[in-house]
Amino acid sequence: MKRIFLVLSLILSTAAGLRGADPAPALNAYAMRFDGDWRVAGGLPVKAMLVGLQGLVNRTAPRLYIIQAPGFPWEITDPLADFYRRKYGVAFTEVGSADAALARFAHFARGYVVWDPGVPPTLDVAYTIAGLEDAIVVDAALIPLAERHGLAKIDDLRGRYDGWSNAQIYADARARYWARCNHDKIILLGGQFGPVRIPAIADWGVRGRMFFEDLAANPAHPDELALEKQFMAGLNPDGTIFGWHPYGKDTEEQHTTLSSTYGLKMEGLQSLPNLSFNSQFTFTPGFKFTNNPSVPPDARLVAEKKVYLAFVQSDGIGLGVWTKPGRGRMPLAWNTPMGWVKYSPAALEYFHASATPNDYFIGGLSGPAYMYPNHIPAARFGPLMDQAKALMATLDERVLEIMDNSAADGNVGNADLTKETVDRYYAAFPDVIGFINGYGPARTRDLRDTRPLISYDYYIDPLRPREEVAADLGELIALNSQRPYFCLVHVRETNDVNSLIGVIHSLHGPVEVVPLDRFLKLAASDQTYVTRYQHPDDPKHFAGF
């Protein structure tokens, strides 16, 4: 009854027009501001409780939004809140404390589950129970607060799993809860390992009654790997893993290889906040994505005898330099997380609305979400790429970025595509301008009809001194002495644009920085790059499962 009352109390009046300079809000919602303390022995327990509560509060309507502190991995929460205010007419009332949040929202929960910071997986299990039983998660210190707000104990995990291995804990939780959980989505609550955890995506998992775990996809942990395979096999065929792999127990490459082997999509990260809120919006009425192409899609260009550079920012757009000074001063392609069409449409609209003519959006990674295509089962490749094509059409994107680090470990091994994989992409995407590949450098290259596939020749480490970046680029230009030379550069997320402009100015000779679409059109006119695919003899850092 209380819930019905609160749903009704939301003012969901349509913004039917401006009333002078003070339009009525289309939606009243609440916002909390977090500080940056995610230490297990510090600010985590309260934040873990509030993020789980957010999932319950937002289960039927977008009511609670969290603004993260400056320096948080996702830098857009504050500007996106402002965008909700301006474009969606959301009026936020700020909630100042955990006590105030429970005073206002405790009625969305039926009780609490106690987790034990000394046994980290109990937080995952507690979140799983929270989604199924409409509970908040508390450590022992927060029990009085929960009870003060009328919440009773639903479960207490203290002591239940003492001395158990992670695999034993999750196997037990699987036996207890998996059957009742969402089988389209699962939460991989990995990321930081040890004294700091950032489970900011937990609202999404609690809202969707998902199973939480942080199992390793590492053959060095065979029990965890075997159980992780069971979870992946148990998801529905078009399933999605939200979150991120557990640092310290496995690698991004291992986990993404495994999920791709099951044809599952990966949506990162475990620190991604507010999905329970963001997912309940659509694009504003009449809004339509229009990209910023520099050339018509059917243009035929002819390259000159010079060096062409194109820069791509492929890490999560919200993680990157979007909100930092300098964007727009040079052509930069941005990989958009295409799944956000479903999960965070307002965020995509925000990026579009704040784009400059130098910002060009591309699709990826590898498909509708982050996947390693060399490992996607053949039967799943077509359906997945159909999803990717539909999302790219919505976002007016004509370049697909591909990445397969299954044989790599960061910068060791190779990041190349087999010829079979390349054949599949060319068949699946007849209407793209071209493809780009890699994260670090790679050497898969091709040109079929007017569609080139170019891999990164350089990756800019944000910590690398700029004079060495200039020397690296100069050396690539010297080594690739034929003109035109097409040099594709990956800009790591935290590089700032102003420093890149300084690097470009220090390069010698006829060098031109061009937008990615123009770069690919030019690369289609004169193939000075060697066609190449992953070769069986290429070094492989991770041999696979």
Partner: protein, 172 residues
């Protein structure tokens, strides 16, 4: 002539022996001083293990990136050029410049400065976007005063800036 330049004559007489003898201070393990060296790219730490005996010199590179460890040896000879199939260079791993596995590098080396400097010159075949290219690498390993610091200066025929690395002698 001999009477006029006795020291020069003596030096020329001893040159072949000097060229074959490296200072024993080179031998051992050296830790890269990352704070004073050119920034590595894609590697976080490096040890150099030098073993010199006769005219042969073994340069072992123990490279680290997070939990990844790579070890590679360049076995050179100060008396004659050698062909090295898997020549290891301290590469900038974020550049698409790849060793050619089946192509050998032509490598020459010599002791200079009374054995206090080891010069290594290599012509290294590499794969880049546009095909196969050869990079000429010129290295000087210099044992600095006190024998606790090793300086490596590396020049590439394709790079404007020298790469300068400093290593501290590991305690046995």
């Amino acid at each position: 002539m001999i009477r006029t330049y006795p020291k020069l004559f003596l030096a020329l007489l001893l040159l072949p022996f000097a060229a074959r003898a490296g200072d024993p201070g080179f031998n051992g393990r050296w830790h890269l001083d990352t704070g004073h060296s050119t920034a590595l790219d894609g590697w976080s730490a490096m040890d150099l293990v030098i073993t010199a005996g006769g005219t042969g010199v073994s340069l072992r590179h123990d490279m680290t990136w997070r939990s990844t460890h790579v070890s590679a040896v360049d076995a050179i000879d100060t008396a004659q050029p050698v062909e090295i199939g898997d020549f290891f260079r301290i590469d900038q791993r974020h550049m698409a410049v790849y060793a050619l596995p089946k192509a050998a590098a032509h490598v020459r080396a010599a002791w200079l400065d009374g054995g206090r400097t080891l010069r290594v010159e290599a012509e290294v075949p590499l794969e880049v976007s546009q095909g196969v290219r050869t990079m000429r690498i010129y290295d000087e390993y210099r044992l600095l005063e006190g024998d606790t610091v090793l300086e490596l200066i590396e020049l590439h025929s394709t790079r404007e800036r020298p790469l300068v690395y400093y290593f501290n002698k590991a305690t046995p």
